[in-house]
């Protein structure tokens, strides 16, 4: 590949987008009540802090110290980043195996102690089978925001990002977002404020379109809030969420509850359920009940397993369930293997098996 091609590719990468970031709310099992302990973003997912990277390194088969462990404990990490290459093999029931490759780059640049710029983009290949390909490569920017943390426990964020959720699990939301919040952007332009301490976690936000909506009528504007409270020995957080939005296609109101509970260092549950009311521009009113419940079992820190059950019910309409057992083996800080299957029970049932190999550099 010529130098100009490499430069062109790099520029393209810098302009375009990423997949949802990894998040591990099951860390409640070890007393981590807030995502902000390990993630730059208080809502979790995305780039890890120095401490978060240390904890990540410590939870692999070949556990060890991260590269910057010798630096002073309070040293400011000016440039936090990770690059991930992920190869996935999906085997749909009755279909041909599909191969896909995803690359993501995530970074957080510290201007000073209080100010950071966070950016993430990714490249996703089309799904490939042995004799054809489906779709095209997609590129995109998932996050670009400025974050100001005037003091511990307070953060203000302005830019483009995922909206805060109770569990912070992007995959869970994706399952039902296509029905109870269709066609809108998953990473709208937003301004949000976080406040947290040992007992409370609160987030409030307002958002608007980001230009990724499929049609102008889906450009939604709205606001929301969520609040969680640490109710049991730093091992259980329960809370409420609410959101309202308006778009030409539909107005939407949503309220929900969530819980993250670690019974001990090996076992716990994550749950988030909500009810959404949508009023379409045709005057039709729809009510959706959606939820994600997950039991996780972590026999060793390097082996994380979970069984998730999700449901989406449209009152007076269709009901869909999904059952997703999964296991992740953390071989080294840089290599992970993930196994999962997704069984969807709807009008037409389906099942998909997936294997993912993730290579990470940071």
């Amino acid at each position: 590949m010529s130098k100009s091609s490499v430069k062109g590719l790099l520029v393209l990468l810098l302009l375009l987008a990423a997949r949802p970031a990894d998040a591990y709310p099951n860390m409640i099992r070890l007393g981590y009540t807030s995502c902000a302990t390990c993630h730059v973003s208080p809502q979790g997912g995305g780039v890890l802090t120095r401490y978060g990277r240390g904890i990540d390194y410590a939870q692999t088969i070949r556990a060890g110290e991260p590269p910057d462990a010798e630096l002073p404990s309070d040293a400011l990490a000016r440039f936090l980043y990770d690059v991930r290459l992920q190869m996935s093999v999906d085997h749909p029931q009755g279909g041909a195996e599909e191969y896909s490759f995803n690359t993501s780059f995530r970074t957080a640049v510290a201007v000073n102690e209080q100010n950071r710029v966070v950016y993430a983009f990714g490249v996703r290949s089309p799904a490939l089978t042995l004799n054809r390909r489906m779709g095209a490569a997609s590129l995109g920017m998932s996050r670009l925001y400025w974050m100001y943390r005037p003091k511990d426990g307070v953060a203000l964020v302005v830019g483009r990002d995922e909206l805060p959720t109770g569990l912070g699990l992007p995959g869970a939301n994706a399952f039902y977002r296509s029905v109870n919040n269709p066609n809108v952007s998953s990473t709208p332009t937003q301004a949000k404020a976080f406040w947290w301490n040992r007992r409370w976690q609160v987030a409030a936000y307002a958002y608007g379109p980001d230009g990724n909506e499929t049609q102008p009528q889906f450009e939604a504007r709205g606001g929301g809030a969520l609040g969680g409270v640490n109710v049991w020995k730093d091992r259980a957080v329960v809370g409420l969420t609410t959101r309202v939005s308006k778009a030409d296609a539909f107005d939407r109101r949503n309220a929900g509850v969530f819980a993250r509970v670690g019974f001990n260092e090996h076992v716990g549950v994550l749950a988030e359920h909500d009810v959404t009311e949508r009023e379409l521009n045709t005057g039709r009113r729809l009510t959706h009940l959606a939820g994600h419940a997950e039991v996780f079992f972590v026999p060793f820190n390097w082996l994380q397993t979970a069984l998730a059950a999700e449901h989406l019910n449209t009152v007076g309409g269709a009901t869909t369930y999904r059952l997703s057992p999964s296991a992740e083996v953390r071989l080294t800080p840089n290599f992970r293997l993930q196994f999962s299957s997704r069984s969807v029970y709807a009008n037409t049932d389906s099942r998909t098996y997936s294997i993912q190999l993730q290579v990470k550099a940071e």
């Binding site: 099992r29 070890l30 007393g31 981590y32 009540t33 807030s34 902000a36 302990t37 802090t49 120095r50 401490y51 990277r53 240390g54 904890i55 390194y57 410590a58 939870q59 556990a63 060890g64 110290e65 991260p66 910057d68 462990a69 404990s73 309070d74 040293a75 511990d152 426990g153 947290w196 301490n197 040992r198 020995k233 730093d234 260092e265 820190n301």
Partner: protein
């Protein structure tokens, strides 16, 4: 002949080793104390993080015995010892840091175990404040806490907790990659104790 010599030596050695134990037990009986041995226990140290959340360092390796007396104005005899080398936090690397870097267990016997002695309670049943002398990291300080003591069978079930200031025991400030443990940690002890037979050494699980 050889068998007779071995038998005689065994009897003498057994007498020499068991005599002090029997004498101590007799002393306890003379002073009105009943000696209780720890049968099972769990010690949990709750370590709050400076930026929220906490982790627990746990062990079941608490051993020893205490003497109980009707006169609660006197300290209970005996010694409870916790093997600090068995503390586990749920993350192996953190266990290593805790034991080697902060508790410095490799420095010798004074660092491998924490000892609780001279325990004073106001009553031997129900909720009660207590005072004791804690030796940890080579330093000895008095601590104060609360205990809930319940008679159970021949013995007792005890749930106790007390705060410990890490800095008072000369332990280096625990911090890792910008996140620290607050100076005050809370120690929780749950144990079952039963009357000890004459020869007692405590049990380590």
């Amino acid at each position: 002949m050889a068998k007779r010599i071995i038998a005689t030596c065994t009897t003498v050695l057994a007498t020499l080793f068991l005599l002090p134990v029997a004498m101590r037990a007799q002393d306890a009986t003379d002073s009105g104390q009943t000696t209780l041995r720890v049968m099972s226990a769990q010690v949990s140290v709750l370590c709050p993080l400076t930026i929220g959340g906490s982790f627990e360092a746990k062990t079941k390796a608490l051993s020893g015995q205490v003497g109980t007396a009707p006169d609660t104005s006197q300290p209970l005899g005996g010694d409870l010892a916790v093997d600090l080398q068995t503390l586990e936090t749920g993350i192996g690397l953190r266990d290593d840091h805790l034991r080697k870097k902060y508790l410095e267990v490799e420095r010798g016997p004074a660092y491998t175990h924490a000892h609780l002695k001279n325990i004073r309670v106001e009553k031997l049943a129900g909720k009660t404040p207590f005072h004791a002398v804690l030796t940890l990291h080579g330093q000895t300080k008095e601590i104060t806490g609360t205990a809930d003591i319940k008679p159970e069978g021949d013995g007792y079930r005890l749930n106790a907790s007390f705060p410990v200031r890490v800095s008072e025991f000369g332990i280096p400030e625990p911090t890792y990659l910008g996140v620290g443990v607050k100076d005050e940690v809370v120690v929780r002890v749950n144990l079952n104790a039963a009357p000890a037979p004459l020869a007692t050494t405590g049990r380590t699980k």
